[in-house]
Symmetry: C2
Subunit: 557 residues, 2 copies
């Protein structure tokens, strides 16, 4: 075994919350065989990625070595773990392994992008394992906020790894497998070389709370609610969706699911038998016939997403249904940082309608799906690994999690995206830094975050845009006229004259005085025109716009 | 007095948190005399207002009636109350009244914009009053998170109004006037017609906490902190800045203030005698000579602002000072919703440096400056107004505050921006809806939020931009060539060919087949070119770009 090594390389998720993608490798240096755990996405925002559809980890490093990739394992069906499968899996060209519910979601993603869904193979839970290259891999059930979430038990010639995926310690998760400390302890019996561990909630000082706490509170809330009740939560949190539906039925209400994601998740969970006994629901058309005090809607859009059902209802009638004064709206969810403004927007729209809105009230109607600080300590103790490698978290979470491991007398290492860690030596150490980054799905194209495409859009958003045409005749004489159009700048500035005309005049003057050498050079002419356009706009409206110069050189035919 | 009426009209701040601007009027309908309370701004974001410098309330309604505006009263020196003074006061052309500290800030704003600072008149606190038109107005000291915050006591022929401004009930505010229930009770003795009341914290169920709670905790924190200590808070929270400085001195550290706003606020507070005994500080150059364990920096940028000192230090050396592993950073502040990502960005940058970062830890190192729900109830009782009109809050806050008033047996009314409420009748009622909105300070220009200028920029950010030139000769023949430049779109799409050339080819083809009628009409030609450009880009990269078409019609000279 000398000369062989075990490595861990996060390509996404370590240094951020979202787009998880972790490589494990074993073999001689430079000839390791690889597996990938998770292939997630993260979501764009106007600040950094306007117009972008999805953000994915840059998998170039792994694609260059795709011939040595033996499999992709997906821990669970949240978008930040499975969302990249449809977009990138074909390029990675390796079988995808998941448990049945996750597999069903992954398959649909492949189909939607025109790929073969049979790339996905369904695995049973631990103690069942799959041999993949030098690895023997099992899906260890964990509790989280979606069915069939799993940690990965990865046996390697250099020892056992446990990769938690996203998890919490919930003895009563409402749906699916409760956290089973005996099972986890049995996994640790032969010793755990390294625990690669979810870090998102490391700053949460209280022990995590069980999903089971929420159901009775929802029952109370809905039984006392007036008018039509509309509740939103994450569509994939099926334990919660079911608890909401049951609370509605218990309060004598018909239940209607609104939003494609919500209906799909329920359907997929039923088809894969991870959920049974979901109360019968009615469609929106039937719902319009039910007296509002006997109706409950469970809707998508807990984060204020503009296209989701909650936002549609906040704007007026949606599928024949409409909120009214005296109705009740419940956020059975937590607002993810960055979404506060969108959530407040729909809350205020409901307020204007006279709808009474309640949020989770500091945890009354929602619990987190991640392990808090005391839970992390408990898992460290339970698995007793030689090494703790924090994953899934911003840098601050990873660093704090290492501190926690060290406080418990363990070895820990901060390994952000691109840090290749050797886990097989005496001490874990970073042996290489691999170039990583983000790729944008932008319409139908994949563009690198650093390619400048989106940066150009941001600049236009900040500074406005001026398009200028100058025409040069076949004797290299510039025409005195210039044509200008401005976008995203005021029509008039401090002088009161139309901005467009002012820029046209100043460029025409430039063209009149420009020497032959400048006119002959596209580069020089463009530079001169840009300077004039920027100066005129700056003087008039105090902004330095982006300028596009189109030089038309006429050729006598 | 028959035929005369007392009206309240919020132009900003009622339906949002920020840009406060409230009109009070008294007189015959249509001939009322007005005062304005506060003239604030709110801050832009990439989502809705990219590239904008500041957002102001649209004051057009009041400007049309500026001859009847007798004065502008500024409750305190936070930007959302005073920030519009330099930009709009000249157009309103009325004297500005404020207490000394607020007046000093307002004067500087006028000077910075080239206006006469003597528009600002300094007023003493209640029981001193100023006669302005039909109003007698006094500044009632309140506690808040800035010195000399005041509510307005507005005596009118139709009774007394109390406009709280932003406030909390703090018996030990650290700096400035403690909340004085006896003074407030005395104001209420003759009866209060209406209480116009801060609503921002109406959803906070616990009583507000005193600024005095924070100082000893800061002392403990800083005495135990390792390395250089850097603390940030809102520059205008001078009680906090002073407590931080005193905690630093007590821990044997030299204190250095970083950030222009921080130094200015301290200087203004000293010049206007609202603060005395601030510990002596050192400049950044001297600070570089102090051993780091004996040094404390108090810096701007508690909200993660990219240009503030905290962000500069997170990027590396700033004014010769640099954070290192083992140093300590403290957010003695709360993150305002919408700023989470920026705050996390600098926190993570510090984490990468090995700096230990602490936030307010759920209130340990920060308290709010606003009255919570129980405090609002207390003020309702103390002032016992006939009417409660909630102000400063989003719609949901205003509505909840009215519910609170009604639960206490009082009359309340939700009056969002533009709702003119008559306060002199038997019951308060909305008598008119006035058009209101937002104005953007965009570079040097003021543009209406609905003018489309910023919307055009947002569209370019989302969709990218294509500029096209087509040239038509003096016989209305289109040249077959087209010149195209793309911005914010990938260089190549699904075909692998350069996007620019594909669009040029498709437009050239269009020009070749376009009939004379289309070519002669700018509108038709532009429409046809746009459709072709959009279709080509959509087919290639899956996005529908903004297209600027420049038509050059050559004229024989």
């Amino acid at each position: 075994m000398s000369g062989e090594r075990l490595i861990y390389l996060p390509l996404g998720g370590a240094g951020e919350i979202g787009m998880n993608a972790y490589v494990y490798g074993y073999g001689p240096e430079g000839a390791e065989r690889y597996i990938l755990v998770d292939l997630g996405v993260t979501f764009p925002d106007m600040d950094g990625s306007p117009g972008v559809d999805l953000i994915l980890p840059d998998m170039a490093w792994l694609m260059d070595r795709a011939d040595r990739l033996d499999g992709v394992f997906v821990t669970h069906a949240h978008e930040d773990h499975v969302g990249g499968v449809g977009i990138l899996a074909a390029q990675l060209n390796a079988p995808i392994y998941a448990r049945s519910f996750t597999a069903a979601i992954a398959r649909r993603k492949l189909e939607e992008r025109g790929h073969d869904p049979d790339m996905v193979q369904v695995c049973d839970a631990w103690p069942s394992t799959t041999d993949v290259g030098p690895f023997k891999v099992g899906f260890l059930p964990v509790s989280h906020s979606i069915p069939q979430a799993s940690g990965m038990v990865i046996d390697t010639p250099a020892g056992r790894l446990v990769h938690t995926g996203d998890f919490k310690l919930d003895p009563t998760p409402g749906l699916g497998e409760p956290f089973d400390p005996e099972l986890w302890a049995s996994v640790a019996e032969g010793g755990v070389r390294a625990l690669i561990c979810d870090s998102t909630n490391v700053f949460s000082a209280q022990p995590g709370r069980s999903e089971a706490e929420v159901a009775p509170r929802l029952k109370d809330f809905i039984s006392e609610a007036s008018g039509m009740v509309v509740a939103t939560t994450f569509a994939s949190n099926l334990a919660r969706v079911k608890a909401l539906a049951e609370a509605g039925i218990a309060a004598g209400r018909s239940v209607c699911l609104l939003g494609r994601a919500m209906r799909r998740m329920v359907q997929t969970a039923e088809e894969t038998s991870v959920m049974a006994g979901f109360p019968s629901t009615i469609g929106p058309e039937d719902a319009t016939q039910v007296p509002r005090e006997n109706l409950m809607l469970i809707v998508t859009g807990s984060q204020g997403e503009r296209r989701a059902a909650s936002a549609a209802l906040s704007r007026g009638k949606y599928l024949g249904l409409e909120m009214q004064e005296g109705d009740t709206f419940l956020f059975s969810s937590k607002t993810i940082p960055g979404n506060e403004v969108g959530v407040a927007r729909i809350w205020n729209a409901y307020s204007e309608m006279g709808v009474d809105v309640s949020d989770d009230q500091g945890g009354l109607y929602h619990v987190s799906g991640h392990a808090n600080r005391p839970d992390l300590i408990a898992v460290h103790k339970l698995l007793n690994p030689q090494i703790v490698v924090p994953m899934h978290g911003e840098h601050r979470h990873l660093r704090e999690h290492v501190k926690l491991a060290k406080a418990g007398g363990r070895t820990g290492i901060v390994a952000p995206n691109g840090a290749m860690v050797e886990l097989s030596g005496n001490d874990p150490r970073v042996v290489e830094y691999v170039e990583t980054g983000r790729v944008y799905l932008d319409g139908a194209a994949l563009v690198g975050a650093l390619d400048g495409v989106v940066r150009e859009r941001i600049k236009m958003a900040l500074n406005g845009h001026v398009a200028v045409v100058v025409i040069v005749d076949d004797e290299d004489e510039a025409l005195d006229d210039a044509w200008v159009q401005v976008r995203g700048l005021p029509d008039t500035g401090s002088s009161g004259a139309p901005l467009q005309e002012l820029v046209e005049d100043d460029i025409a003057a430039l063209m009149g005085r420009a020497d032959r050498k400048t006119v002959r050079s596209d580069e020089q002419l463009e530079g001169a025109v840009k300077r004039v356009a920027r100066k005129t706009v700056m003087d008039e409206v105090g902004k330095k716009p982006e300028v596009t110069v189109l030089i038309s050189r006429l050729v006598t035919e």
